[in-house]
Amino acid sequence: MSRTLLDRLWDAHEIVRSPEGASLLWVDRHLVHEGSHHAFAKLAERGLPVAEPALTFGVADHYAPTRGRDRIGDPAIAKMLDRLTENTRAHGVRLFGLDDPRQGIVHVLGPEQGLTLPGLLVTCGDSHTSTHGAFGALAFGVGATQVAHVLATQTVWQTKPRAMRITIEGTLGPAVTAKDVALHWIAALGTGGATGHAVEYAGSAVRALSMEGRMTLCNLSIEGGARFGMIAPDETTLAYVAGRPFAPEGAALDRAAEDWAALRSDPDARFDRDARFDAADIAPTVTWGTTPEQALPITGTVPDPARLDGARAEAARAALDYMGLVPGRPLDGTPVDQVFLGSCTNARIEDLRAAARVLEGRRAKVPGTVSPGSMLVRAQAEAEGLDRVFRAAGLDWVASGCSMCVGMNGDTVAPGKRCASSTNRNFRGRQGRGARTHLMSPVMVAAAAVTGTLTDVRPLLEGRA
C-alpha cells in the first residue's frame, strides 16, 4: 500500500495505539524554554525525574533580554530565566542559556546545532515547533501537561492527523519569499484551513527553497491551523545537516542519509486534502488585519467589509477598527511607526542578508530593531558586515531572543503604534497592548524601514543582486 511521509514518520515512532485510536509516540528530541516552569512544577509535585535528560535540551529565548543582558532589571523576567536554569540543572538537562554563545530562539537553535534531523520526532511547548518539519521530521507543539508528560516518559499521546498536501509549482518572482508563500496559502485557505491536518509541502517552488526558506514555510503552518508542516528531505537538507555539532558524522551520517532517502510520500500516495498554488501568482504579501489570513499582495487595497460575507465582514470590520485602517486605501504607502526584524520565522542568516541588501547605503525613516535568530547568526552576520548595514541605516542591532515577536522580555510595540514585522502573529496585542502589527517578509520589512511606509520592495531591489 502506498504511504505518505506522515505515515512513515508516524509508524517509525508509534509504541502502542489505544483502543480509542490515540498513539503513544516516542520523542527523539524535547526542547524546553522558560515556559516549561509549569511542566517542571508538575514533575516536582510527583517527585518524578526527567526520563531522558540526554534527549532534552533547554533554551532561554522567550524572556531573553536583547539589551543589557548582564543586569536584568525586571524581577519577573529574571525569575523566569532563573527557574529554567534551576530546573535544567536539577535534572541534568543541557541548557543553552544567556551566557552561551550558541543561545538563540529554540526553533533556530535546534536546526543550527544539528539537534533537528530528518526522521526525528521533535516536541516543544511552543506552537511553532512545526518549523523543524522542514527537515522531514515529525515536529509539533504541545501544552504544559504534555510537556510534563514528555519529561516524565519521553513519549507523547497523539491522535494521527489527516494528511494534507500543499503543492506550489513554478518559480517565485523576484523578492518573493517563503514568507509570502505561507501568507498566500493561509489567506486562501484561512487560519483554520489546515486544522486537524499535517501539511506536507511539495512542488518545484518548495524544492527550490533553501533550508531557511523551508523552515519559514513550515514555521507558519500553525497559522493555517496545521500543527505539523513537513518537507521530504533531499540534498539541500543533507548539505545543511552535515557538520552540525550534534548531527551524526562519518559512517553514522552515511547510514542516516540512506534511511533519510526513504522519507518521502509515494508517488501514488493518497492525501485527505490537496491544495495547489502557482508560484507565479504569489506577490510580496502583507497582512492588513489581526489574523494571518487577513493578508493581501502589497499592490492591493484595504478591503471593504461591506463587500465581504457574514462572519468575515464582521471580523474585517473589527480588524480594521483595531488596525486604524480605512477601506479602499492602497496598502502601499500606509505609514508605519517602526519595524522589527526577528523571530523564529525570519531571523536566520539568509533573512538578514536579504534585508541588508535592501538597506545597504540607505537610511531608515523610522526606528527599528534587528534581533538575530541566534547568537551564532548574530556572529555570522557581524563577520559578513551586515550589522554595519543595519546600524548605518539607523536600526538597533541587538542580542537574540523572541523579543518583539511576543513581547515577554519587555520589547514591545506601544499602544496604537504600527509595526512592520517579520514575525508570525498579527493578533491583537501580540506585540504589546494595542500594537498594530503588519506581517511581511524580511525584505519587505527593510523596504518599510527605508520608506517609512508599507511598500513594495521590488523597485528598491532593482539593480541590486
Binding site: A144, Q146, T153, T195, A256, A315, G407
Partner: protein, 195 residues
C-alpha cells in the same frame, strides 16, 4: 483531576471568530505560578474598558459560546488555566485549534464542537440561558434545545475518568523500554552526538 459526566450552568455568548490564546491570556501574565490563580487574567485586554464584556455582565456563567477557530495561536496552556480558574467548564464553538483543544481536555475543560453554534449565539444574544452538557450522550442543551456535540472517544473517556496521562503511560513502561532499544538499533543516528 476529577472526572465529570454532566455539567449544568449558564451559557453566555462571546460572538467573535478566531479568538487566539494571546487574547485569552496576554503574554505578560504568564510568569505567574499556577497556584496564584489565572482567572483574573482571562481576556484581560478585551475586557478592559468594555463595561459590556459578556463575562462581566454575567458573572458566574460556566459555558462560553463563541466563534469558530477558538484558541488558535500560541500553545500556552495558561489560556486553559485562565478559563478554568475563572469558572468556565465548557467552551462551545464550531471549531477549535488543535493544541488548545488538547490542552483543554487535559485540564477537564470540554471543547465542545457544535455545528449549530451560530444558532446558539443568535439565540443567546447578549443574555444568558441555562445550559447542560452530558458527556455520555454527547449533547449540549441550551435554552431547552438539544445539540449534538462532536466528541472524539478519547476525549470523552479522559474527561469522564479524569484520566492522568502520566499514570496511564507508566502502565506501558515495558513497551516504551522495548521501543527505545529497537529505535536505538534501527536508527542509531537518532541519538544526539555526544549524548
Amino acid at each position: 483531576m476529577a472526572g465529570w459526566v454532566e455539567h449544568e450552568g449558564r451559557a453566555v455568548a462571546l460572538p467573535r471568530s478566531d479568538i487566539d490564546t494571546d487574547q485569552i491570556i496576554p503574554a505578560r501574565f504568564m510568569s505567574a505560578s499556577r497556584s496564584e490563580g489565572y482567572g483574573g487574567f482571562l481576556f484581560a485586554d478585551l475586557r478592559e474598558g468594555d463595561a459590556a464584556f459578556p463575562l462581566d455582565r454575567h458573572p458566574g456563567a460556566s459555558v462560553l459560546v463563541t466563534g469558530p477557530n477558538f484558541g488558535c495561536g500560541s500553545s500556552r496552556e495558561a489560556a486553559v488555566y485562565a478559563l478554568v480558574d475563572a469558572g468556565i467548564r465548557v467552551v462551545v464553538a464550531e471549531s477549535f485549534a488543535d493544541i488548545f483543544a488538547g490542552n483543554a481536555v487535559n485540564n477537564g475543560l470540554l471543547p465542545a464542537r457544535v455545528a449549530e453554534t451560530g444558532a446558539i449565539l443568535d439565540a443567546l444574544g447578549t443574555g444568558t440561558a441555562p445550559a447542560r452538557v452530558d458527556l455520555e450522550r454527547g449533547t449540549l442543551t441550551v435554552g431547552g434545545r438539544d445539540h449534538p456535540v462532536e466528541l472524539p472517544d478519547i476525549w470523552r473517556r479522559k474527561l469522564i475518568n479524569g484520566w492522568d496521562d502520566i499514570d496511564l503511560t507508566r502502565a506501558h513502561a515495558d513497551d516504551i523500554a522495548a521501543f527505545r532499544e529497537t529505535r536505538a538499533a534501527r536508527a542509531p543516528w537518532a541519538m544526539p552526538r555526544g549524548a
